[in-house]
Symmetry: C2
Subunit: 481 residues, 2 copies
């Protein structure tokens, strides 16, 4: 007999005869009440066992984590908290779970312990909820762009180009590591490698996406990107998923509009489609907040934070304005910042971003028009700036509790200005011949941004460590599973 | 003034005053008629220039590939083949394209030449169409699974596990290649590498996806996978995208149902949503077929082939039946096969698969119940087979012109049988401790499959070389861009 998903049983509009459910036992109380979960929803269905007519040997095998199949009638539940339950007529143990050995017992486990058991943590309420929300957010990303006529582009993961300058890269090779072939000069001879050259894992698909935007108009990527930076923090992963839209004929203002509209769409999608999971995550966060000193607790619940983002315009502030605000700020004057803001040109640290977002504006903030010196080579140089105060059409979106969630820019569309900038920075023109072709042939104003998907998931789920919002996190010293 | 997409202009229900379009010049005829494309559709919009009142210097810059902005009225076209055209009142050159240098001139280029210019080939009709269809198919994949309640899972790209046995792997490292740190025995000391161990690029997310299916019930992956195999063929890529659903409580018959329903859904989605692009690709294919000798030409047009898949049940055939058919076949008897089929147990070659699909059944075929010896360790051993004729619950879906498009199986859910199999094959149990945990705790029947996305795109677009259906192909000796 075909089984029915727990979600569909719980959402039934009427009682039903002879239903079958399959799933995993979460708890078994009083030799009678099984809380059964199959992952289709955070809610369990209560299965009431006729324990007097069930062999003792079977009852003993109904343990946390065991896979079972139950058949019986879906009836109105007498217990609190659920509309329906299954009056079990037939019960089959599909797979046992030795209670002495199963690590995911029904008690609170630390997040650290759960990370070490990343293959089993998905069997907890919290991780089931997080990963369902992550999946819904992914779909919202695709739906948003597809509805707007963007073309999804899979830019390459293995790249022969290391000129993007976005950070340390992992190298990819099929050479025998213990005994690499060498050139006469004693260097590794990459001509003998799989691709005939040195290759790395991509840090961004932007440059390739630009070539597509200059033909298809509106494109986006959504794929894994990599940083070999030894950052052992709660905000960094060595392998993470990034979304990079790129749009021909968009200027920086259009780019900000797109980013804000996009973020609101996907957050709204989660609010509308993941109500049960978000409610659970909200109470999880509330419990976590209770452990903190009063002063450090968030003023808003998780759903209040999400609705705040939906209901308010992101504050758009130029870098120059932000520097003025920071110079005059109490923590700067009282020397509470680790890095004091003394003059225009300073790179903003996370403490400054947090002050602007969490204390000063109390809202998501879009900072734009950054000093050219602290930004990437491909960003559009502003016209008519003071010498020494050149700025580029860059923008970063800063979120409360998360920091930078989006980095983007209008791109430098002028071939001569772009080449000049690359020369200054020592970036090899020949390496990027194909990128420069976009400016040689039919160049036009265009813009794009990158959004770190896990930071978005962090924000929406209210989790605080990025390792808890991706199934199998990759960080320094950790590539388990 | 905001511009309107060419697609929206061509789909307008009425004439319009003062519209603006931006895009790239495809052709410019008689100093008067611009064919303008912006990538939103395969169709160009005709822009009629008032050449008598346009400076000669501007007219000269309207060249193939140039980016322009035109404003004027959308009026009914007098010319054939288009409903509307723009009577240009204002024209601005955004970015020039030197006709002496721009490689994508309006003539037929060879696919080889276009591959060398993968950053510009997207400016041709064919590649615009292919990549829009690819994008639509991607979205259909997500929509299909999300509508059915599957959870999208991002399995890791960098993996510490090399036990999957699906093929040669690329190694990933942050060590200095020219001078790797060594152990006392002279081996590379991976303890000093980023992850503290040797790591590779994933060949499949299946094993990790199984751990998620055993908690969330229905999951799917859709991400890049890698093979360091030196296969320089029109069917292999070193980097390709794979879709891997995995479903708890599904047996092999459910798995076949899911695969067939899924493929039909996504093909249907393309037929319904990419009519213009498929029509173009159909005529492109027809032209290509004309180059072939009559006997080698396909009996069906592209859309006929797609509809054939939609309208017919995939033929389900056991390996044993297939061997009987092949043994009795004319090419086997006449020794036309390169590898003659002599007995049960033989691995099927592409020539045999093609015979079954293209000659014998003339339909997509699902082959199942393969000999255990030629399939992977994790596949469910069939009960009650003859000694020496053990089979596993494997299935491959074979498509005309493509060969294997899906490989899947019911997984071995019995811990003891699985461990025994791993021992026989010398697969380290400790390496896969986490995988075995799914069988230790709450094991259950489950199944899944992998679909190579580019092979699906090949089939739907009617292209014949897999390098032409991914933006920047990675193959032996080639990681350009």
């Amino acid at each position: 007999m075909k089984h029915t998903k727990v979600k569909d049983l719980l959402n039934s509009t009427k009682i039903l005869q002879e239903v079958t459910a399959k799933g995993w036992v979460r708890t078994f109380r009083n030799n009678q009440f099984i809380a059964l979960n199959d992952g289709s929803t955070i809610h369990n269905i209560q299965c009431v066992v006729d324990f007097e007519n069930t062999p003792e040997a079977i009852l003993k095998r109904i343990t946390t984590g065991a896979a079972i199949c139950v058949s019986g009638d879906l009836v109105e539940s007498q217990g609190a908290g659920q509309k329906y339950e299954i009056q079990v007529k037939k019960l089959e143990i599909l797979g046992d779970s030795d209670p002495e050995k199963f690590p995911m017992q029904p008690k609170k486990h630390s997040l650290e312990f759960l990370r070490e058991n990343a293959h089993l943590r998905i069997r907890t309420n919290a991780f089931g909820a997080i990963m369902r929300v992550r999946s819904a957010l992914s779909f919202a990303v695709h739906q948003y762009f597809q509805q707007k006529g963007f073309v999804y582009v899979n830019t390459p993961i293995i790249t022969g180009s290391d000129a993007e300058g976005a950070g340390e890269m992992f190298q990819v090779s099929a050479l025998p590591f213990d005994n690499t072939p060498r050139t006469e000069e004693g260097k590794v001879n990459y001509k003998e490698d799989f691709f005939g050259k040195q290759t790395n894992l991509t840090v961004s698909g932007q440059l390739e996406a630009e070539t597509y935007a200059m033909a298809l108009g509106q494109v986006y990527t959504f794929g894994p990107t990599f940083r070999a930076e030894n950052s052992n923090t709660s905000r960094h992963l060595a392998e993470f998923w990034m979304i990079e839209p790129e749009v021909a004929f968009n200027d920086l203002a259009d780019n900000m509009d797109l980013a804000e509209d996009f973020i609101k769409y996907v957050v709204r999608y989660a609010v509308d489609n993941c109500a049960d999971d978000l409610k659970f995550l909200e109470s999880r966060l509330a419990d976590e907040e209770k452990q903190k000193p009063q002063a450090e607790r968030s003023e808003m619940t998780l759903l209040e934070k999400l609705n705040f983002v939906l209901d308010n315009n992101f504050k758009r502030v130029s870098y120059t304005e932000a520097i003025d605000i920071l110079k005059d700020s109490t923590p700067n004057k009282k020397k509470k910042f680790q890095y004091l803001i003394e003059e225009w040109g300073a790179d903003l640290q996370s403490e400054h971003e947090r002050f602007l977002v969490e204390k000063h504006f109390k809202s998501p903030v879009i900072l734009f028009d950054y000093p050219a010196k602290i930004k990437a080579f491909y960003m559009r140089l502003n016209d008519n700036t003071e010498p020494g105060k050149e700025t580029v059409r860059a923008m970063d979106i800063l979120f409360p509790g998360i920091g930078e969630i989006v980095g983007g820019s209008q791109r430098e569309e002028r071939l001569d200005v772009l080449i000049e900038k690359m020369k200054t920075l020592g970036i090899d023109e020949e390496e990027l011949w194909w990128y420069l072709d976009t400016r040689r042939f039919g160049s036009a104003v265009h813009s794009g941004f990158g959004l770190g998907f896990e930071r978005l998931v962090l924000f929406v789920t209210g989790m605080t460590n990025i390792r808890d919002v991706i199934p199998f996190p990759r960080t320094p010293q950790n590539a388990e599973f």
